[in-house]
């Protein structure tokens, strides 16, 4: 054994139980992009094993491959032995960060959160503070879009939800995916203080926050779409959207939160015809925005976004709808890139909440 990687060691059995079958390779967006086995989930499992046994050093090439993972978790879905490759990657990242192996841009995000409680270090954030029953966690991304967030809250209220909104702080999910474990733990404490919960169902707008908050509170946190779908009766639809759309499942919502049915039911209720992409629901592909890839390797992030956008365009749908602020942003950028490439007009990209707001009275 080489240098002690105590965090990674705990997952040594995962690396040993990986049968190296390679079934995870062709679902991994990063492997499909880079082509080298080192960029595949199996490759990452092998490198983690090499770190544990001391046969590999955490040099720049290894560090790069470990951080070039979008945490989309499709490898884990496909793995016949349900080997936890994404968790192994996260453990490796924690070990690497402890050894000072990170990037300036990821450090900057960490510092933003540490210093301001907000991923963008936005001190001007307008919190739509209000009393209510259901603790609603808005999340940094949605907080940065004041207007649409206000509309989203009105929409929830019109469906009978009474959200309680406080001056929240980042849940720490970005710190987890970038491997800043100590900072994450501190952030979680700050969050618990800033965001006290009651016995009512916790709600959130953001798929990533949902997954992370469930870990923190050890109980179900509902994505607003789950709540909305239950409450959205036909008489609530004033202006049906009437469009042929395609829907991009955000990784944290589909594989993470197993919520693939609700957004589709909502889209149908508001008059959308859904034309599905090749990779949907639990087998959805990353938008290029996950797992810290945006700050680690922006060029790769763009390529992954473009690949996903080309799948969307191939459906012939009029627009692409998604349910995650990061996906929305990545895919909007990808739509412009695809348009530059083909000379056609960019495919319109919407957050499902925006369509909902338009449709509901």
């Amino acid at each position: 054994m080489g240098e002690k990687y105590s965090d990674l060691e705990k997952l040594k059995n995962e690396t040993l139980n990986c049968t190296m079958c390679g079934f995870c390779k062709n679902v991994c967006p990063v492997f499909l992009d880079v082509g080298w086995d080192t960029g595949s989930p199996r490759g990452r499992m092998t490198m983690a094993y090499g770190l544990i046994t001391g046969e590999l050093e955490p040099d720049d090439d290894l560090v790069n491959r470990i951080f070039q993972c979008t945490q989309c978790r499709d490898c884990w879905r496909r793995c016949p032995g349900k080997t936890k490759c994404p968790d192994v990657v996260l453990a490796a990242r924690r070990e690497l960060v402890r050894r000072g192996k990170t990037s300036a841009s990821q450090m900057a995000v960490m510092q933003n959160i540490r210093n301001t409680g907000n991923i963008f270090a936005d001190l001007e954030v307008e919190f739509p503070i209000q009393e209510g029953d259901a603790p609603l966690f808005i999340g940094c991304q949605h907080l940065s879009r004041t207007n649409s967030t206000k509309k989203n809250i009105r929409l929830l209220q019109s469906l009978g939800v009474s959200p309680r909104i406080v001056r929240e702080v980042c849940c720490g999910f970005p710190l987890e995916v970038m491997g800043f474990e100590e900072e994450r733990e501190k952030q979680v404490e700050k969050l618990k203080e800033a965001f006290p919960v009651n016995d009512n169902t916790i709600l959130t707008f953001c798929p990533g926050c949902k997954v992370h908050l469930e870990k923190i509170f050890g109980r179900e946190v509902r994505h607003v779409l789950q709540e909305i779908n239950e409450r959205l009766a036909p008489d609530k639809i004033a202006k049906p959207v009437n469009a042929k759309i395609t829907y991009h499942d955000p990784c944290d919502l589909s594989r993470g939160a197993k919520t693939t049915k609700e957004p589709r039911e909502i889209l149908k209720k508001i008059g959308c015809e859904i034309i599905e992409m090749k990779h949907v629901k639990e087998s959805s592909r990353c938008c290029g925005g996950g797992g810290g890839i945006l700050t680690w390797d922006a060029a790769m992030s763009d390529r992954l976004g473009l690949a996903r956008m080309e799948e969307a365009i191939a459906t012939g749908a009029e627009m692409l709808v998604t349910a995650c602020p990061t996906c929305e942003q990545s895919l909007k950028k990808a739509a412009r890139a695809a348009a530059d490439k083909s000379g056609a007009k960019p495919m319109p990209v919407y957050h499902i909440m925006d369509l909902l707001f338009r449709a509901v009275r």
Partner: protein, 487 residues
């Protein structure tokens, strides 16, 4: 054969860099480490990994390898199970996954042409539009057609649809000494001399590098129906298999499971199969009328052999579910012993069809003598049986027990008139037993290798040139006395 390292030095690596450019060669430690592993149990680190794009580039690299005496190991997806793609003497790994163009699909000539790095399922997705397919191995979602040709891969449809050797009509290949040649034809028949394209089937990357393959295609069946049958005794299931084949009926798939496998599948998948001594999963495909007739006959044969449970379905969803359960056997078995790892040993023996029950019973008796787990299951229809050894990889005693158990298994298989490998090949982990099985033909195989690869640079020290046990160059962190790494 004495294993001499065939490393590529800095000069050689620079010369390769000049051929392929900076972007397609890697010497970073992480890359070398990862390409030192495949899906088998061995590992050894290469000196460089290269992703060539053309036969010409490969030809230049091979000529250089002959001049400078470094090893070259072709590699597809790295899913082979016996150490095939491990650069055991060091040298250069050629990752062919980037050569992945489907060049032609020609239904009128019943053939398609593709580069070796095309993944089997991707090819089949393209062929499906024309209502054709090629039968793939269980690893079809990862394995490349180049790797499949080089290992004569076959899957659970082999009884009716054959193996890779039945589909390769021709190929372009680069010989170990660098010549680019074409073997075979674009015709379904050819009697024009030595069938060199067939010699390349199962050569495990030791005789040449395949750079393009011409494959025959099989028509996609119009309809599939499945029948599941449970028997009190394993022999009854075995007799049913023989009776079905002798009828003669050639089901598309015919799988047998022992009681322990049924339990494992139920536990892992919740499929709710009836607990029994022997279980059969049978699928017939083709024209709807023919399928109906075959399934009726299959049912009669099952009843005659005292099946106590019989179910039949044409529902594609249920059929998919049943096969998924079977396909997940390997993962399911690990549920039985989560603290053990699954090792690719004694993984794919084949015996004459009528000997399947004897083999399965014999394997279970062997398992009882040891602390390790060796649950058998397999494609009864073609006599191909799988077992997986489950053991604690850090326990040297388990490895030594595995060595003994595996020897007993192979002895039994050979006594029953079988082969040590029906699907996966020899490479390193089966070489020891292959020597026993093929004692008389090995000198001739070797003569072919020496004639075509005089400097022994292409995937050296595999098959008949690996004369050690499988306990060398293990990828697991275990210390075995006297079994240190080969180099």
């Amino acid at each position: 054969m004495e294993l001499a390292e065939k490393r590529a030095g800095a000069d050689s690596i620079n010369a390769i860099r000049a051929i392929v450019g900076d972007e397609r060669i890697r010497t970073a430690k992480a890359d070398l480490y990862v390409y030192g592993f495949d899906a088998g149990m061995h590992c050894n680190i290469p000196d460089a990994v290269v992703r060539p794009r053309t036969a010409e580039e490969i030809s230049q690299i091979l000529k250089l390898a002959n001049e400078r005496n470094f090893a070259v190991v072709p590699r597809g997806a790295g899913t082979a199970l016996c150490g095939h793609a491990i650069p055991i003497a060091g040298g250069v790994v050629l990752d062919l996954q980037g050569m992945n163009r489907i060049k032609e699909i020609n239904p009128g000539d019943l053939l398609c042409v593709a580069e070796p790095g095309v993944v089997c399922d991707d090819l089949n997705a393209a062929l499906k539009k024309y209502r054709f397919f090629i039968p793939g191995p269980a690893s079809s979602e990862a394995a490349t057609i180049g790797g499949m040709a080089a290992t004569n891969a076959s899957g659970d449809k082999a009884l009716k649809y054959g193996a890779m050797r039945d589909y390769v009509l021709g190929m372009q290949a680069v010989m170990p000494t660098g010549e680019i040649v074409r073997f075979g034809t674009r015709t379904l028949k050819n009697a024009s001399g030595y069938q060199m394209e067939k010699l390349f089937i199962g050569m495990e990357g030791t005789l040449g590098i395949i750079t393009e393959i011409t494959l025959k295609m099989a028509p996609l069946p119009e309809k599939t129906a499945a029948c599941i049958a449970a028997f009190k005794e394993l022999v009854e299931a075995g007799q049913t298999v023989s009776d079905i084949i002798a009828a003669p009926i050639f089901p598309a798939q015919l799988e047998i499971m022992s009681d322990i496998c049924v339990k494992a599948v139920n536990k892992a998948t919740g499929l709710g199969l009836p607990e029994c001594g022997g279980f059969l999963l049978i699928a017939c495909d083709g024209h709807p009328e023919q399928v109906k007739d075959e399934i009726r006959k299959v049912k009669e044969i099952c009843e005659k052999n005292k099946a106590f449970f019989l179910d039949f379905t044409e529902d594609p969803k249920r059929i998919e579910e049943l096969w998924k359960g079977r396909k997940q056997m390997l993962a399911s078995l690990s549920v039985l012993k989560p603290e053990f790892s699954t090792i690719m040993l004694a993984d794919d023996m084949a015996v004459p069809i009528s000997k399947v029950p004897d083999a399965v019973k014999g394997f279970l008796e062997i398992q009882d003598k040891y602390d390790i787990y060796i649950p058998p299951y397999g494609h009864a229809g073609d006599g191909n049986l799988h077992t997986k050894v489950l053991l604690d990889t850090e326990n040297p005693d388990h490895w030594h027990q595995a060595e003994k158990a595996v020897r007993e298994i192979y002895d039994l298989v050979l006594r029953l008139g079988g082969t040590v490998t029906g699907e996966h090949g020899v490479a390193i982990s089966k070489a020891e037993y292959f020597f026993i099985e093929r004692a008389d033909s090995i000198p001739f195989m070797r003569a072919i290798k020496r004639a075509l690869d005089p400097n022994n640079i292409l995937n050296p020290y595999k098959i008949f040139d690996w004369d050690k046990s499988f306990l060398h160059n293990l990828r697991y962190p275990v210390q075995l006395a006297g079994k240190e790494k080969a180099n």
